[in-house]
């Protein structure tokens, strides 16, 4: 009996070790062909999975789109890449992370493939620069523009067209209430609507002036801040020389951040952690007249099932602004991601097959129809695309005015320090914009110095 017990113990041990080995090796049946794409958890990932059904029908290769919540998206794929994992064949990664991935060899270089397939001619040049190129201007590409995105605006047409609102606004500001023609104009509108009675059906609901990002856990606060910095004539620095002093703390940058701080006063309470969810939720709850969000989240606002004001919702791109030097500038912060082939993938041939299929004009048109934001130049220009959704014309304009954050491998450290110092002023009200930007400039210069860019 004891012997039998011991034998069964040994057998169990061997079985367990075998199971662990089989699980760890992760071998799949040889006949099953599939690729795994890693992207953030949001609607475009669902659209991509749906779109890829066409690829599966053509080739028999299954496409799995693995989604990770935004809060841990970048951390997760960085950790996997550090471990040289072959869990994913394609990563649809953040645009600012392209430098890190390229320098550390996690993404395959696609320069020859892009030129051979003519992607550099069929996709918009700006999208290729910001989603695929590193270093900028170096004509070396590591991604295919997948989801073009930028910050844009949604507004309540019914409130903007209300005769009493129009009359009161004209009387107070001396010009007509309408889609803002400048950032100054936009702030006037936010101030006008902030705590204005009679704007909601439910009198117990307080009404506020605007919904903008306040969260600084990842890049939301930084993305809003950078577009006002650029629009007011400031800069984040020189992307080729890494010079920041005199640019990040310039007059234009200071004015941009001061503007952000002023505008933030018109948001609903508790907006210090507002990102895309709160931006949309406050709008659909009917407590703000306008919201700033990435275009990727606007399908929810044009859908009557998710937005009771869908019929009365209009869209506009980030407005222009006359800077301190009298020059008018118009910029929008870039969102979106490019699709890159993972160096450690064991199915790179299948991944390239998928990319071949994805860059086709027909696929890009279908991508746009499903709700994805194409960067294919012809599709963007087409009437079908412009009329497909009410926000598409504003998206097209945004694709012409976007600009991106630093794309060097140290971008996350820059992002963290910037978010911390700017949030202290914009959200927390500590110190001044100049002090915050000077502090950030010193920290950034130290980061670049440590990384060896000034050697």
């Amino acid at each position: 009996m004891k012997r039998a017990f011991k034998w069964s113990g040994i057998v169990m041990l061997i079985l367990c070790l075998g199971a662990v080995y089989a699980f760890a090796s992760g071998k799949k049946p040889a006949e099953e062909q599939f690729i795994t794409i890693h992207w953030a958890q949001w609607a475009p990932s669902d659209y991509l999975e749906k779109l890829s059904e066409g690829f599966t029908a053509e080739t028999g290769i299954k496409v799995i789109v693995e989604q990770t919540p935004w809060e841990t998206f970048v951390q997760k794929y960085n950790t996997e890449m550090i471990a040289r994992s072959d869990a994913w064949d394609i990563i649809v990664g953040d645009s600012q992370d392209i430098g890190n991935m390229a320098v550390n060899g996690h993404y395959l270089e696609l320069t020859d493939w892009i030129k051979e397939k003519g992607v550099d001619k069929t996709f918009t040049p700006a999208s290729l620069t910001y989603f695929a190129e590193y270093p900028k201007g170096g004509e070396r590409y590591y991604a295919v523009p997948c989801e073009g995105d930028a910050l844009g605006w949604a507004y309540r047409k019914d409130l903007f067209n209300d005769s009493k609102n129009k009359a009161d606004f004209k009387a107070k500001y001396g010009y007509a209430l309408g889609v803002p023609k400048s950032w100054d104009n936009l702030k006037d509108i936010a101030e006008f609507f902030h705590k204005r009675p009679g704007q909601t059906d439910d009198p117990s609901k307080e009404f506020y002036g605007i919904s903008i990002y306040g969260d600084n856990g990842y890049d939301s606060l930084a993305m809003f801040a950078e577009q006002v910095i650029w629009s007011f004539g400031g800069e984040l620095g020189d992307y080729s020389t890494y010079q920041v002093d005199g640019l990040l703390n310039s007059k234009g940058s200071i004015q941009g951040i001061e503007y952000y701080h002023e505008l933030f006063k018109f948001t609903p309470p508790g907006f210090g952690d507002a990102f895309y969810v709160k931006a949309n939720d406050s709008f659909t709850a009917g407590i703000v007249p306008m919201t700033c969000n990435y275009f990727a989240f606007f399908p929810a606002l044009s859908n009557e099932a998710t937005n009771p004001f869908a019929e009365d919702t209009g869209y506009f791109p980030c407005p222009p602004q006359k800077g301190y030097d009298g020059k008018v500038r118009q910029f929008a912060a870039l969102g979106g991601q490019g699709a890159s082939v993972v160096t450690y993938s064991k199915k790179q041939d299948l991944a390239f097959q998928w990319l071949d299929w994805f860059i086709k004009k027909d696929t890009q048109m279908e991508w746009a129809r499903l709700g994805g934001y194409t960067c294919h130049a012809e599709v963007l220009e087409s009437g079908e695309f412009l009329n497909a959704a009410p926000y598409n014309p504003a998206f097209k304009t945004s694709m012409e005015i976007f600009k991106d954050w630093w794309a060097c491998p140290e971008y996350d450290e820059l992002l963290r320090t910037f978010s911390q110092t700017i949030a202290d002023y914009v959200i927390g009200g500590k110190g001044t914009a100049e002090q915050a930007l000077n502090k950030c400039t010193d920290q950034w210069a130290e980061i670049f110095k440590r990384a060896g860019y000034y050697d």
């Binding site: 550090i82 890190n100 508790g270 952690d273």
Partner: protein, 320 residues
């Protein structure tokens, strides 16, 4: 034991019958001892390998990294990444005034939450000593918070605290107070959630301790007409102080490295309370400054070990 010996011999290809016949009892005994040890080592080996690879090695490796400049995100180039820089990371951390704010905030958090849990937990345990109808149900309900996942508790309290639609302000009639993003309040919001979650833990340990106090001590005190306070301070408290000290040690260690609750309630943004574990996460996995993260991890480890040693000393005294 003989069965194990036979089994090993069997594995070696010797038939059991033959072995029994050929070996003298002395040799058998010798083999039996040897093989017992071999078998023991075989069984321990997988655990040992796992322990060394996922526990000991990272500990040693991170200690090495704490004396270097290293980012896990960048390509490993010996001499550059990692580059040995001695105690520079420790010097940088300990000379940074903002880091001291984090140490102080964490200390405040530990003191407030653990004190709250100890007082409430022990108080509830004393109340549960009384006999009343539904005592079992009440005890079970009180224990529920600690059975939940801390992340879920964090997210749940985040909803409670929301200034626009949260129940917390509504129930207390506080208006639209921002408990999550206001730096003047959000530390307290995490303390409240932590007390809510972990008071039952102290309560359970206290209940166990109270149940173990011999009844005859109280009976003897009753005969001497001792007051309630006398019985509490001279019998109850001394008898259960070792178990209370144990609860204190567990809670201090846990509270010192709190991460999941604040991550759920305030997130890891700039407005979140500057707690050490949150900062450690940001440094190590957001900005990928692995070497600074390793140094900070070791500083925290030394602090926790030091506090624990002091408390264990008191625990031993209490036991005596």
């Amino acid at each position: 034991m003989l069965v194990r010996y036979e089994y090993i011999e069997f594995l070696r290809g010797n038939s059991m019958q033959k072995t029994k016949q050929e070996r003298s009892p002395d040799i058998e005994s010798h083999y039996r001892r040897m093989k017992d040890k071999t078998l023991m080592r075989l069984f321990i080996l997988p655990t040992l390998v796992l322990l060394i690879s996922i526990n000991v090695f990272p500990l040693v490796w991170s200690l090495f990294l704490s004396f270097s400049q290293y980012s896990a995100k960048m390509v490993n180039v010996w001499g550059k990444n990692p580059e040995m820089i001695g105690v520079a990371n420790y010097r940088q951390i300990l000379s940074d005034p903002e880091m001291w704010v984090k140490f102080i905030t964490t200390a405040k958090y530990v003191i407030m939450s653990v004190a709250g849990e100890m007082i409430l937990g022990f108080g509830l345990a004393l109340l549960l000593q009384l006999n009343f109808r539904g005592k079992g149900l009440v005890t079970t309900l009180l224990v529920l918070p600690m059975t939940m996942s801390p992340v879920i508790v964090g997210l749940m309290w985040k909803l409670f605290y929301d200034p626009n639609w949260g129940m917390f302000n509504f129930l207390l009639g506080l208006g639209r107070i921002d408990w999550i993003q206001d730096p003047a309040r959000n530390l307290y919001s995490i303390v409240i959630a932590d007390i809510w979650m972990w008071t039952p833990f102290v309560m359970l340990l206290s209940l166990a301790g109270l149940g173990a106090v011999p009844k005859y001590l109280y009976e003897a005190a009753e005969i001497d007409r001792a007051s309630w306070w006398f019985k509490f301070s001279r019998i109850t408290l001394p008898m259960i102080s070792p178990i209370l000290m144990l609860a204190l040690i567990f809670r201090i260690i846990e509270a010192f490295k709190i991460f999941d609750l604040p991550m759920g309630i305030t997130g890891r943004g700039a407005m979140a309370p500057p707690l050490l574990a949150m900062h450690l996460y940001n440094v190590s996995f957001v900005t990928w400054n692995t070497s600074i993260g390793s140094s900070l991890g070791y500083i925290m480890l030394v602090m926790v070990v030091a506090i624990t040693l002091i408390l264990v000393k008191y625990l031993n005294k209490a036991k005596q």
